[in-house]
Symmetry: C2
Subunit: 220 residues, 2 copies
DNA sequence: TAAAATTTTTAGACAAGTCTAAAAATATTT
DNA sequence: AAATATTTTTAGACTTGTCTAAAAATTTTA
């Protein structure tokens, strides 16, 4: 079967797929509505449509999950999104906080070979500018282990490998704080009251809220 | 006033603008319908809408013309289209017959600086892969003089500078015939009956129909 | 210039995707 | 196990862009 999906359908599939990956469970209507910034009733309509096309499995009142066909479409949209983000940052020299909304449009361009040629031109990158893994041509994607800065113990050091939130405001905050991918962070203290953290970054000390620390992926 | 136009609106504006440039006269509903591959009634609806927005001037039963606001949007869509075609051919190494339909989608991506950054990355090209002039940042566009191969006299020589038809089938024919931009062509004879032409291209002689010769822009 | 042909517009319908408000089902409290 | 609260679905409406068929205007022909 040949799938020529609308942008809306692709966006919903991506949302259902990624919430499903995060939680491991069946995805609720309201969770989808929240992610898609739309109303539950619109979600119900779309889920029905995707279910009719065999792209999601849906049990009334019990939420939805992508099928394998649905997953492969969602993953290829993610691949396209992340490669375009690489292009925008590496080739066109956008800042990492400017590219998400543009990639949100570019990911839907229909062409048999466009994304693969882009991949080749970019020299087959493994991660996008926000540290998210890029699926390969066959849809194989590495799932990283989701260690957040918020779970690092006092005195321990780690390296920033990704951001959970790609919003412009969060990324601008990180720019100002001197935090970027690959940067080494040492956790000095964690405040018991609000879980805010004192961090040492290149011999400067700063304090960040839990809101910040739970949106940064780190390793080691 | 801020214009956030739909893809359909941008495509109609481009069509009305380019037919208007070609003919110099007010553009008929049926001409637009033909170019847009749609029905006259749909054109009437859209022309009304564009007229309400002040982007075209329309007199009932008398056709439409873009206003200066409409023209500047049409030209900036053309600029985007042609720069993306350059990118696809020069950077991603597509053949010139593969890029039109992809650029038709890419031209509608909304971003304040994307097209200008692309322009810079491509080193400010003046022509797209089909020989069409690329408007600059301010919407200034060179209009070339439209000399067709079909109007060249026997014994005269000329150089191919553009194609009027960007369809894949026409461009593939040209590839097979060894005709590309910059190629020198000598007209040997013109058949009186069907205006077919005998051409000499790099010491090979070929015959082409009027259909072909009237779709090639040449100079000298 | 009147009849015929053509072009353009109107009228009404439809599909996609969204929304609000109300009904139905499920989950949580007591 | 009811009563209450929450979630999800349905019902009906709206927008955008399209279509067919019919009416109206314009142009061409005779
Ligand atoms: Mn999207
Ligand atoms: Mn990203
Ligand atoms: Mn287009
Ligand atoms: Mn072109």
């Amino acid at each position: 079967m040949k799938f020529n999906l609308s942008q809306a359908e692709e966006n919903y599939l991506k949302a259902i797929y990624s919430i499903g990956i995060d939680t491991g469970k069946s995805v609720n209507t309201n969770q989808i509505a929240l992610k898609m910034k739309t109303k539950a009733s619109s979600v119900t309509d779309m889920v029905k449509k995707l279910s009719d096309k065999g792209l999601v499995e849906h049990k009334k009142y019990k939420g939805a999950l992508v099928t394998s066909k649905g997953e492969s479409i969602a993953v290829s949209t993610l691949r396209s999104h992340r490669l375009w983000e690489c292009f925008l940052v590496d080739t066109l020299e956008f800042n990492w906080d400017e590219v998400h909304d543009i990639a949100e449009q570019l990911e839907h361009i229909k062409s048999d070979s466009l994304v693969d040629r882009l991949d080749k031109f970019l020299n087959f990158p493994s991660y996008d500018p926000h540290g998210d893994p890029i699926p390969d041509k066959n849809g194989v994607i590495e799932h990283h282990k989701n260690v957040m800065l918020s779970s690092v113990d006092p005195e321990a050091s780690c390296i920033v490998i990704g951001v959970k939130d790609s919003s412009s405001s969060f990324l601008k905050f990180l720019d100002n704080a001197g935090i970027c991918l690959g940067k080494k962070i040492k956790v000095l203290t964690v405040e018991d009251f609000d879980q805010s953290m004192q961090l040492e970054i290149e011999s400067k000390v700063i304090t960040v809220s839990h809101q910040i620390s739970k949106n940064l992926y780190v390793k080691k």
